[in-house]
Structures are given as C-alpha cells and as structure tokens.
C-alpha cells in the first residue's frame, strides 16, 4: 500500500521532470559549440537515436476548416503508404482504411460536420492492452504501431479499438509495397502518423501536407510535449475535444469544431 501511495505521489511530478530533462538535453545540445549540435532537437532526430518520450507526436484536426467532398488527406495517405483506396479495391468491405473521411449531420439542426477519422494514438491504447503477442505497441514518442513481425492477425485490436481505426490485410500484396512502408497479408495495420517521415525528420505527415497544399489547413501535426510547438500553441487557444473522451484514453488526435 505504501508503494502504491508513493507511486501516486510521484505521478503528477513526472511531466515537469520530463520537461526539465527535455530542456536540459536541448541546452546540452546547444552548448557544445556554436553551429555544432550534439543533439538535434525534436524534428531532426539522428538516425541512431531511439524515439524519445520527451516528444509526443499528435495532430489537431480543425473540423471547421475541413472541406465537404475533399478527400485529399485520404489520397495522400494511400499514396504515401501504398494502400489501395477503397474505391479501387476489388473487395471494398475488406479494403484497408488508414484514414477515412466522415460526414456527420446533426438530425435536429441539419448542421453538417466533416472530419477525417484515423488511429487516435491514445496514450492508453486499448489495442495494446488486448494484443496477445505484444505486436500492438506504443512507441516512446506516442505513436501507436503494429509490429508486423509478431502480429498473428487475430484482430482482437480491431475489436478493441473504439475508433474502427484498424484493418487487416486479407490478400497477398504481390510486391506492391513501398520500400519505406512494409505491410502484408495476415497483419493488422493502421495510421502510423507517417512514422517513416517522422523518423526521416520531415516533421509532418502526408495527410497534413496534402491538407495544407489544398489550402484548407485543417490538419496540424506536431509535438504536443513541446510548449513552443505550433500544435501546442493552437491547443492552448482553441477549444478542442477528444472523440469518446469518456473512455479516458488521452488521445493524440484532438478535434476542434465538433
């Protein structure tokens, strides 16, 4: 019991400590010499450095800017990650959907809302809780992924996910995969927050890039742990919601205007 108390006492202090460690690392990185960085902060992580929990990648979806009929984020995702769009699939009901557009209507007022729905990158992901092999996991920087080397395709995670974010690859892909995005038959998959781009140091996802390119600016990707990042600033200003906030999953994707 005393152990439990200790843990609960320590818990609230951890974000502060984390922030301090983050600041200390950044300072160390800057201190070496002018122009020489030992540690590149946040966006350009060196390739030999593991993902760090000092960062939490997240996304802000501004549903008030999301355009009716626009599908650019979905197309960009399928192009970047190499999955066949539902419309082109031979089996649409089985087709993978890493991100999908939803059009909602309030039955009383007829107000329409548009928003993209994908993996919400929960801090407490139910898909990770139920996975029998440990294939479904949360990376240190908050990205929820499937380790396809251990996934047995049982689909418990698909049932556990409150957001219907995951899909199973039903058929052999016959070497149509992208070199950066391995995916294959018998494995569950979902949005990876473009982990290959994040690790490369692009600092953005394909969907957010496409949304900006289309001039809508409804998607903003960034580090929610960095108080100076664009996403943190916007999250401080705008009223945002988590979908199914009642589940207390602490989502990495936040919505404004729903």
């Amino acid at each position: 019991m005393s152990e439990l108390n200790q843990m609960s006492n320590q818990a609230p202090a951890s974000p502060e400590r984390r922030r301090f460690v983050g600041v200390a690392t950044a300072a160390a990185g800057l201190a070496i010499a002018p122009g020489v960085m030992l540690v590149e902060v946040a966006h350009g992580r060196p390739e030999d450095q593991a993902a760090s929990s000092a960062v939490r990648w997240g996304m802000l979806v501004d549903a008030t800017k999301c355009a009716t009929g626009c599908n650019d984020c979905v197309t960009a995702c399928s192009t970047e990650n190499g999955w066949t769009p539902v419309a082109e699939s031979a089996h649409p009901k089985q087709a993978p959907q890493w991100i999908r557009k939803l059009e909602l209507q309030d039955p009383l007022t007829q107000m329409e809302t548009n928003l993209p729905m994908m993996c919400q990158h929960c801090a407490e992901p139910p898909c990770v809780d139920v996975c029998p092999t440990g294939a479904s996991f949360k990376r240190a920087d908050g990205i929820v992924l499937v380790n396809r080397h251990t996934c047995i395709g049982c689909r418990y995670c698909m049932m556990a996910c409150p957001y219907k974010a995951r899909s199973l690859v039903h058929e052999s892909l016959n070497d149509t995969q992208k070199p950066d995005v391995p995916r294959g038959i018998g494995c569950v998959e979902s949005c990876t927050l473009c982990v290959q781009k994040v690790d490369r140091g692009d600092g953005n996802t394909a969907c957010a890039e496409a949304c900006t390119a289309a001039g809508h600016d409804a998607l903003l990707f960034g580090d929610m742990n960095d108080p100076e990042s664009e996403i943190s600033k916007r999250l401080r200003e705008l009223p945002t919601k988590q979908v199914r906030a009642d589940l207390n999953l602490n989502l990495g994707v936040r919505y404004h205007g729903i």
Partner: protein, 161 residues
C-alpha cells in the same frame, strides 16, 4: 507371364535411363548451384562475406527490432540497404526471378523467405528514377544507360550537382 513382366521392366528401366540421360543437369551434382551476382553498388558488404552468408539473419533480426520498436533507423544492417545494393540489374529486385540475389541461395538451401511477404523487393523508386544522391552517384553511368531515352547526360549531371 513372368517373361512378359521382365520384358516390361527392362523396357521401363531403359526408358527411364534414356530420359535421365537427356536431362542437361548432371544428376550426381545435385540441385543447380546458386547464381551469386556481385552487388551493383559498393565493393564490400557491411561484414565479411562469410559472416554475412552465415549470420545475415542475426544482423537483420536485431536491426529490425531496434528499428520497429525503438525507431533506431541506422543504415548498416538495414534490409532496405541490402536491397539497394543487391537488387538485380535486370529485374531491379532481390527476389523477382530465380536468379535474383536472395532467392538464388534460398532456393538452393530450401529455406523459405518470409521477408518479402511484407517488404518490397525493390529499391526506392524504379531503377531509372533512383535518386542520384551522394550514395548512388558512382552508380549513375548505369542509370544513365537505362534511362537513355528520357534523360540527357547533361540533365543527369545537373541533378547530380
């Protein structure tokens, strides 16, 4: 009746021998030896050849766990880099035809490769579109030959600079 059976046996044996004799592969040699093509890029693999032949999966397994779980994406021991160097010049792949780098040995050793159920067997982009960065600059004469119809040598030089 016995004589007839014996005759039948002799005929069958002769036919079988004749069929075996007509085969190009010498039977005593066993399965055809793997064709090992030298990597298109680079002079030396990340480890000595003997070590790579025996232990490549140890390196790959360790690297993949680090890459997937921790996000450590170093180039050494990365499967993508194997493919970048070893993809065949004709098929542009390490596993498309039976003489391609991975398949050739694996079929000889009768070891199934699962990697390419999920991983692409080809380098990033098609061979003609292969990015002419510093790592592949020494390879550009081969690319230029392949892409001869579309891109002029001057354009290639411009891209390389």
């Amino acid at each position: 009746m016995k004589r007839l059976l014996a005759l039948g046996a002799v005929v069958l044996t002769t036919a079988a021998l004749a069929w075996a004799g007509s085969d190009d592969q010498p039977k005593a040699g066993g399965a055809p030896k793997p064709v090992i093509t030298k990597a298109v890029k680079g002079e030396q693999c990340v480890e000595p050849t003997d070590t790579m032949r025996r232990d490549h999966m140890k390196f790959l397994d360790h690297h993949r766990d680090q890459a997937v779980i921790e996000g450590v994406r170093t180039k050494k021991y990365s499967l993508k880099e194997c493919i970048n160097c070893h993809a065949s010049e004709t098929t542009g792949s390490v596993a498309a035809s039976k003489d391609d780098f991975c398949v050739s040995c694996h079929s000889y050793a009768a070891v199934k490769i699962d990697c390419f159920d999920c991983h692409s067997t080809k380098p990033q982009g098609s061979a003609a579109m292969h990015p002419l960065n510093a790592e592949t600059a020494h390879y550009k004469h081969k690319l230029a030959a392949q892409a001869a119809s579309k891109v002029s040598a001057e354009e290639m030089a411009g891209v390389a600079q």
